[in-house]
Symmetry: C2
Subunit: 214 residues, 2 copies
Amino acid sequence: MVAGMQSRDTPPTRAGGRPRSTEADTAILEATRQALVDLGWTKLTLGDVATRAGVAKTTLYRRWAGKSELVVDAVAELFDELELPDRGSLAADIEGVVLQFAALLGRPETRTALMAVVAESTTDGPLRERIRTSIVERQKRLVLEGRERAQARGELPVEPDPETAGRTADLIFDVTAGAVVHRALVSAEPVDVEWAHRFTTLLLGGLAATTTAP
Amino acid sequence: MVAGMQSRDTPPTRAGGRPRSTEADTAILEATRQALVDLGWTKLTLGDVATRAGVAKTTLYRRWAGKSELVVDAVAELFDELELPDRGSLAADIEGVVLQFAALLGRPETRTALMAVVAESTTDGPLRERIRTSIVERQKRLVLEGRERAQARGELPVEPDPETAGRTADLIFDVTAGAVVHRALVSAEPVDVEWAHRFTTLLLGGLAATTTAP
DNA sequence: GCAGTTACGCTACGAGCCGTAGCGAAAGCC
DNA sequence: GGCTTTCGCTACGGCTCGTAGCGTAACTGC
């Protein structure tokens, strides 16, 4: 809910003058998402987005450096929906977040945009950083939150060394997010309740192995 | 090594006439990979590839429908390098294939191309099928081969029901490939020996859990 | 050797999008 | 009211796309 602080390009930051229209901001991001649904990543053009949003094309270029940055901000807002309600057990929490993430990847706008901007980021450092702070870190907090809760329940041991604990969290994050993305977008097969259950069993068994036998 | 059978667009298949130059084929695919290294996915243009390969632009359009199809064929050849030598144990086999896959994703041409074509495939059915047969299935065979070998060693039980066995293999595949891709491209952190070892421990522990407790 | 068929290199073209510049008008702060 | 910044609008050069048309090269079958 904190959402897009510092999401668009900062104006030269001098006081005075006409302020930027926040209505235009929301209209542009909404138009971007709709254009992603209608056209997909490649056929999306900034001119088209400007027309849909009812603003001039130049306004877009004043705020975003290019297509990638705009789309990152547009889809990042959708990741605010991800939350981790307490479902009573670690297994139920994992299944829940997997299905939530899968539902997000099922939407056509995220489907077509997420892999595209990641692909862009492989040759664009600042974009990678923008993705990391706007999207990736927002997901990773769910892992930390779930672990903390499971430790409070006594389902997971408290790892003494903070460095190895961090690496374990990173591993769980890459395995979970990676598996869901790969299943949904590469294998192109459904992430349903049954798959989520099988994955959760696998992950929990692996966690037991990693924490008992270093 | 079997490689790109039926990789390019089939000519109308009538006998007679000048045959297509196979030298041009290999030159084009090699030029495509080099262009990916130099320019990345977005800045790569078909005209530039044609110039690098020393062929006319029209020749490219006669064989491939577009940029995506060309790049899929160009990177698919690199996946032929993936093999699964017997390293003595299931754990060693998994670690080996993880590091091999990571090395492939470390190359700039696959780095920038793989996510991009997957993104394209979300709005292009035929392209998704091309990726599946040219790239994905080629990786999945490694999973099946590794499982068979582990069963022969007695490290894994033989699952009686072929359907659940297939689902388990699919799960392992999505988890492994997804985790490596996510670690390398999204988190943008190194897939080194230590990470591969931690991942293998996690996966093996999970396998024990899934096969003992259905 | 000759006709038939197909691929090749080359050139040229309309179309579309990019990203920017320049203008007058609007909306805030002092 | 003066200053500053944003806004909408128009116009532009530059690049890439994908295709068409042409003459030439390569290979097959009679």
